[in-house]
């Protein structure tokens, strides 16, 4: 239990006023070097902490302080961790999943909004913040018809600040690009990292799938779209460097599978990969246990693992240790290294979520595309 809370409770049942003061003076949840104490205040039959930390029970009941409407739950959480959670408040036998009313920090994803718990020592990196005074890039929509995917596709193209047609730029293709913009502040991250000279000015093409569970699951049609349709279109319309080592694919979760699959099916086209929390499910023997959506992923990954080849020369991987996918991500590292691929693998105390992926972008992008920081003094 957090020390402040213990002091509040050590003299018996606190008054409502004492609880009011306790809450008014603190930020929640309460984080210290040992872990985090979650606090809820309100009438309920039961309050449950719901989180997605692999390895811990995903539902943990908060304890009620007798004769009060104050609830708490302590969990051990190593320093610098970051997790997302909700409260499941049960009243009148109804479950209500809510964000933590005492915590203003939330994160969005395509499925809604969660509360964010920052453990002791975690700080949001300054280079992820919008409005830092960095020169802004612009985003333009590019429409093309895909023969492989049998329909129109809109791709958002980020052009860096001070973009020149007379100059040539490296290319980054981002799967789930609109989600990266919305949930992972990709635009601010690019503006800031370019401004800080930590990555070179680059063109970023952001794609969005129709049915991502199908297109991103090692589907050859998606790979064909990226390598045979999108890349040549971008090369025609934008001043790109003509060198595979200056082209990267990036994606998270299924988007990482799509990136790997595209590079594997078209070796030598994209020599850089940035793979975040890849859904690299595979089976050594027998059926896998991840549900039908993973069937095509497992089929692709098993084929890949059998004959990995050299889909890229440099691969940055990161995965949260609070994700179930940490096992699969750890497994792929030696496989890539054995095939003479430079690999950097980063395990972090975070989960399968967009803010985790956002926080990895500086490490990943600056390793794949080192910026001119050392040489430029403006």
């Amino acid at each position: 239990m957090n020390r402040d809370l213990r002091e509040l409770l050590e003299d018996g049942t606190p008054t409502a006023e004492a609880i009011d003061n306790f809450i008014a003076e603190r930020a929640f949840p309460l984080a210290d070097a040992r872990g985090v104490t979650f606090i809820y205040r309100g009438e309920a039959e039961t309050v449950l902490l719901r989180h997605w930390v692999y390895g811990l029970p995903s539902s943990q009941a908060l304890e009620r302080v007798p004769d009060t409407d104050l609830w708490y739950r302590f969990i051990e959480l190593p320093p610098r961790s970051r997790i997302e959670y909700k409260f499941d408040v049960v009243s009148d036998e109804q479950n209500h999943w809510i964000t933590d009313p005492l915590n203003p920090l939330t994160a969005e994803d395509p499925f809604g909004r969660n509360s964010v718990c920052r453990a002791f020592g975690y700080e949001r990196p300054v280079w992820t913040l919008p409005e830092t005074g960095s020169r802004p890039g612009v985003i333009e929509a590019l429409n093309l018809h895909s023969r492989h995917l049998e329909g129109p596709r809109e791709v958002l193209c980020y052009l860096p600040a001070r973009f020149r047609r007379s100059r040539r730029y490296p290319l980054l293709v981002v799967h789930d690009g609109a989600d990266f913009l919305r949930f992972a502040d990709l635009r601010a991250v690019l503006d800031n990292l370019i401004e800080r000279l930590e990555i070179p000015p680059m063109i970023v093409a952001m794609t969005q799938a129709g049915d991502r569970l199908q297109e991103y699951a090692g589907d050859a049609r998606h790979a064909g779209f990226i390598a045979e349709e999108l890349l040549p279109t971008l090369q025609r319309k934008l001043p790109l460097e003509d060198n595979p080592s200056r082209r990267a694919l990036m994606g998270a979760s299924f988007g990482a599978v799509a990136s790997l699959a595209t590079a594997w099916l078209y070796p030598g086209v994209f020599d850089r990969l940035l793979l975040l929390s890849g859904s690299f499910a595979f089976s050594d023997i027998g059926p896998h246990r991840r549900g039908p959506a993973f069937d095509p992923v497992v089929e692709f990954m098993n084929r890949f693992r059998m004959r990995p080849g050299r889909p890229a020369r440099r691969v940055y991987l990161a995965c949260g240790i609070y994700e179930s996918l940490i096992y699969e991500n750890r497994s792929i590292v030696p496989l890539l290294q054995d095939n003479d691929i430079q690999v950097r693998f980063h395990e972090v105390r975070d989960g399968h979520n967009w803010e985790n992926w956002r926080d990895r972008l500086r490490d990943g992008l600056s390793w794949l595309f080192p910026g001119p920081l050392w040489m430029i003094y403006e």
Binding site: P372, W374, M375, Y377, E378
Partner: protein, 309 residues
């Protein structure tokens, strides 16, 4: 009378116009913006702060023209640059280990007198390495110049005559920041320093680095790499005895006395001077006459305000 001035970065805190007024200089001015590369010559921001007309010497464009029209020279130049890069890579290999020895010995807790001896020896090794590297760079540049005599070389000589003409009508030469190697190489390629007569030189950021005796690259917390400052080139030597450090507050951990002291001792007797936004230093005939918001990194790891002599 020669005026030399170094300024901090100009983007957010332009200090050029007040400086010119303070030291009684007025345009027209020539400008070198080759460090901006393909943005060379975009002087809109600069024009706002310059009382008179500014002419860009277009060294970046001129160099591209030389390379395009003289492939033989271009190939020789490329070879030189390749060799310099290779020298830098090898220097870094030694630098990593030499610096590791210095840092490890700083934390050593043995007999004070013995440890002190080893610390001094480690620092001597580091300084020797830097000096040796700088000597080799100068040697390579000298041998290139002796072999090809670039400033009197066909197309370069044509451009140089034009540059001399432009400089002749300007009492001020502005040297902007940007990519320090590209800037310095263009200044050297056209022998700009040798064309100067009475012009006042006002240089900021990478420009300030280029006119010093040596170019030291630095960042304590780069996104990648070890963050060990490195000697990268010989400067033009138009200002002696200082290592200018643009964006020092942003790039260096100035509150870390151990790091500051190490940086300072490494480059002695040169003085390591912070050049943050708003900072300025002016010399007249080699004598420092005006200083604003510049700090000297001391041997003890402190920052001491610089004052005119």
């Amino acid at each position: 009378m020669t005026i030399r001035a170094m300024l901090g970065p100009q983007r957010d805190t332009p200090s050029l116009a007040p400086l010119l007024e303070r030291i009684g200089l007025a345009g027209p001015a020539c400008a070198v913006t080759a460090g901006w590369q393909e943005r060379e010559g975009e002087l809109q921001d600069l024009d706002q702060h310059m009382p008179g007309k500014t002419i860009d010497l277009e060294l970046y464009r001129r160099a591209e023209d030389v390379f395009a029209r003289d492939p033989v020279f271009h190939e020789a130049y490329r070879e030189r640059q390749q060799r310099l890069r290779e020298m830098q890579r090898l220097y870094r290999r030694r630098l990593d280990h030499t610096m590791a020895a210095v840092r490890e010995l700083e934390l050593e807790t043995g007999s004070a007198d013995l440890v002190q001896n080893e610390r001094r020896a480690a620092m001597r090794a580091l300084r020797t390495l830097d000096r040796q590297h700088l000597r080799r760079i100068r040697g390579l540049l000298d041998s290139f110049n002796a072999r090809l005599d670039p400033v009197n070389h066909g197309i370069i000589a044509e451009h140089r005559r034009e540059i001399a003409g432009q400089l002749g009508g300007c009492p001020i030469l502005l040297i902007a920041g940007g990519h320090v190697e590209i800037l310095l190489n263009r200044l050297r390629l056209f022998g700009v320093a040798e064309l100067l007569e009475e012009q006042a030189i006002i240089a900021w950021s990478a420009g300030a680095m280029a006119i010093a005796d040596q170019v030291v690259l630095f960042h304590d917390d780069p996104a990648q790499g070890s963050g060990i400052a490195e000697v990268a080139d010989a400067g033009l030597g138009l200002v002696h005895g200082v290592v200018p450090l643009p964006h020092a507050s942003h790039r260096l951990r100035l509150g870390d006395e151990r790091r500051v002291a190490l940086f300072s001792r490494r480059f002695l007797p040169a003085r390591c001077l912070t050049l943050d936004p708003g900072a300025s230093l002016v010399w007249r005939d080699g004598q420092m006459i005006s200083v604003n918001s510049v700090f000297n990194m001391t041997r003890r790891g402190r920052l001491r305000p610089v004052t005119p002599v």
